[in-house]
Amino acid sequence: MFKDATLGQFYPADSILHRLDPRVKLLGCLVYIIMLFSFKGLPGFILVTAFLVLIIVLCKVPFSFMVKGIRGIMILIIIAAVFNIFFTPGDVIWQWKAIKITDTGLRNAVLMTIRMFYLIVGTSIMTLTTTPNQLTDGMEKQFAPLEKINVPVHDVAMMMSIALRFIPILTEETNKIMNAQKSRGADFETGNVFQRAKAMVPILVPLFVNAFRRANDLALAMEARCYAGGVGRTKMHPLKYQTRDFIAYIILFAFLVGVFVLKHFFKYMILGM
């Protein structure tokens, strides 16, 4: 059912990106998204592409593995592209009755497709090179100052790591329930959308009941192991910055500055991207 979802999966390998502090990668992800949506002109595009190629090479994850994650989201990209092509006002370059294609529309569609593609590949590299626990640890540490204004950072991080732990368990359980219902004659494959949605009810009800039961058990088990919130907790592997992390920060910053400088200088460049 969820076989193709590489988004949010960890790919074990020994690369410099795997060893980077998760905080660097989190911030890197943010910087990358900013770069991606603010570059203008061909030079900016080349710079962002260079950045993406750099991390793809550094992360040692097979490229085919990354692209697998895109398959699921392809339909979304196509829909967005179609809307952009046909529904953007501008100079008409092709028309057939009410349907027309404009130059801005075409340009937007191409740009948007590239951005979506880059966005997914870039962010999936972060999750592919970071274990879920490092990720939540990184978030907890990064957002720790927010605790002062009563944002429950630790609790949210804890919830996220537990959710990640239970995804495979609940997936397996869903399959089990589906098979159990199928063996009793339930039909999930035929009928229209509404009939199929209705057929999901006998799966969801037991799934939710079990999930609540599990949550209750887990809460007891956590309490039995002296869990009492984030106060006074220590970490087995506390996050500590290494030299490589600072170097990575500098590189990131350099790319960010580069994109903005290029954006400023090539404002009226050809292509008008």
Binding site: T131, P132, N133, S161, I162, L164, R165, P168, I169, R214, D217, L218, L220, A221, M222, E223, A224, R225, C226, Y227, A228, G232, R233, T234, K235, M236, H237, P238
Partner: protein, 287 residues
Amino acid sequence: MQNMKNIIKAEKILYEYFRRDEEGNVESINTALDHIDFSVNEGQFVGIAGHNGSGKSTLAKHINALIVPEEGTVEVCGMDTKDEENQLEIRRNAGMIFQNPDNQIISSIVEEDVGFGPENLGVPSEEIIERVERALKAVDMWKYKDASPNRLSGGQKQRVAIAGVIAMNPKCIIFDESTAMLDPEGRADVLSVAHWLNKEKGVTILWITHYMEELVNADFIYVMNEGKVAATGTPREIFSDVETVHECHLALPQITELAYRLHEDGLDIPLGILSEDELEEALCHLS
């Protein structure tokens, strides 16, 4: 000095579950524990046997201070469970292993899960790493330290859970039907780890189960039925009292049952046979 010896001491504990209707009126009361007296000496391997709904799990949760009695007192290592200030210390001293292996593992990596308890206690990082290594080696799971719990078998997951408790350095470990969901191999594994901890590390073990054969090597057994203690004694004493065991809807170990039936048929075999060897000897002496 009395308290030093009794690591767990419960006196006249009463606990009831209320079933309420939609308006919140009490529809029925289910007395899970009916004025139970219970004590465990330090270093013992004590078994609690009972069928489903006999109140044995409720009793286990009392010892870990997960629930407190309505009446009576529970003392663990000399600390009253009713006092909230004691609860963390009680839970550190009395670890608990639950039934479902999946629902008690918190982290997606074995090593980090074992570290969860010490992390909660505020143990310094270097010591946590040390403790985790020791605990995982004790249950023979060190080679799986970087694995995901999802890839382990039920028995292995339960061993990880035990390591998680060992890492908190408890004086006592409660196994609340920890073998109920395991295959025979996993069950034997977990039981042998418990015995090893008891013998080699001097950890007091409280083993809760409805399989009587797991209690053959226990020091002392409590048999529970309908929220009351139906019988107490050494395994031999309990297994000799076949009527009571059957009244409590429990099955004797096969070998004990066989000896009992032979005895009923008029053979001169003592009751309370615990092993094949004993039965063999008894049969040889028949002539």
